[in-house]
């Protein structure tokens, strides 16, 4: 049968390697960004956030980089583990806004 919906970009990495997931955001007025992880059948789970007055923020095994010049956001995962396999979404929130605009998502597959 015909498939519907977006075919997500997929990133496959070996267990233990570092991963880098990229996102281009649309609104230059956005000032707050979040990376969410979504496992199959579950809701988006907060990973890390960053405000527009920063260009880098680090968490546990994760780093978010923000390049406002080219409106680009990236999520770096160190020493990727099987439990990191999921779809990752970036989400942007414009100044004064209450809702997040989600990107299309990237599927991360961790190979043993």
């Amino acid at each position: 049968g015909e498939s519907v919906g977006l075919h997500l970009p997929t990133l496959s990495v070996q267990e233990g390697d570092n991963s880098s997931i990229n996102c281009a955001y649309s609104n230059s007025a956005s000032d707050y960004f979040i990376w969410y992880k979504q496992e199959s059948g579950k809701g988006p789970q907060f990973i890390i956030d960053i405000r527009s007055n920063m260009d880098k923020r680090q968490g546990q095994r994760v780093t978010v980089l923000l390049n406002k010049t080219v409106k680009h956001l990236s999520l770096q995962i160190a020493a990727t583990q099987p439990g990191d396999s999921a779809v990752y979404f970036c989400a942007e929130n414009r100044v004064g806004g209450q809702n997040f605009v989600f990107g299309p998502g990237t599927r991360l597959s961790v190979l043993p």
């Binding site: 988006p44 956030d49 209450q98 997040f100 989600f102 990107g103 998502g105």
Partner: protein, 113 residues
């Protein structure tokens, strides 16, 4: 750890029927949201709610949709007359601050037949 809870986890309804999706946001949160995700697609904003009124809504949130906070804990999304294209995962979320980090529930899968 506090979490957003949604019921039911899966709802099947006939086209034209009304459905109510229920959510219990995190107790000290003030801002509430509904998002939806059609299978295999990205998460889309529907509506935000604060101080007992809608503060923002998207083009998707037409007259068939309504939200309510009937008591101090529940936050509901009603679809008056469901259409096939309403089939999706519906996520409730809540946040403490305006535009701040939103915590999502596990979602309700709505299937319209």
């Amino acid at each position: 750890e506090p979490e957003v809870t949604q019921t039911p986890s899966h709802q099947v309804t006939q086209m034209g029927q009304e459905v109510i999706l229920r959510c219990v946001p995190i107790s000290n949160h003030l801002y509430f949201y509904w998002y939806r995700q059609i299978l295999g697609q990205k998460v889309e904003f529907l509506v935000s709610f604060y101080n007992n009124e809608i503060s923002e809504k998207s083009e998707i949130f037409d007259d068939q949709f309504s939200v309510e906070r009937p008591d101090g804990s529940n936050f509901t999304l009603k679809i008056r007359s469901t259409k096939l294209e309403d089939s999706a995962m519906y996520f409730c979320a809540s946040s403490v601050n305006w535009g701040g980090e939103a915590f999502f529930g596990q979602g309700t899968r709505l299937t319209v037949v």
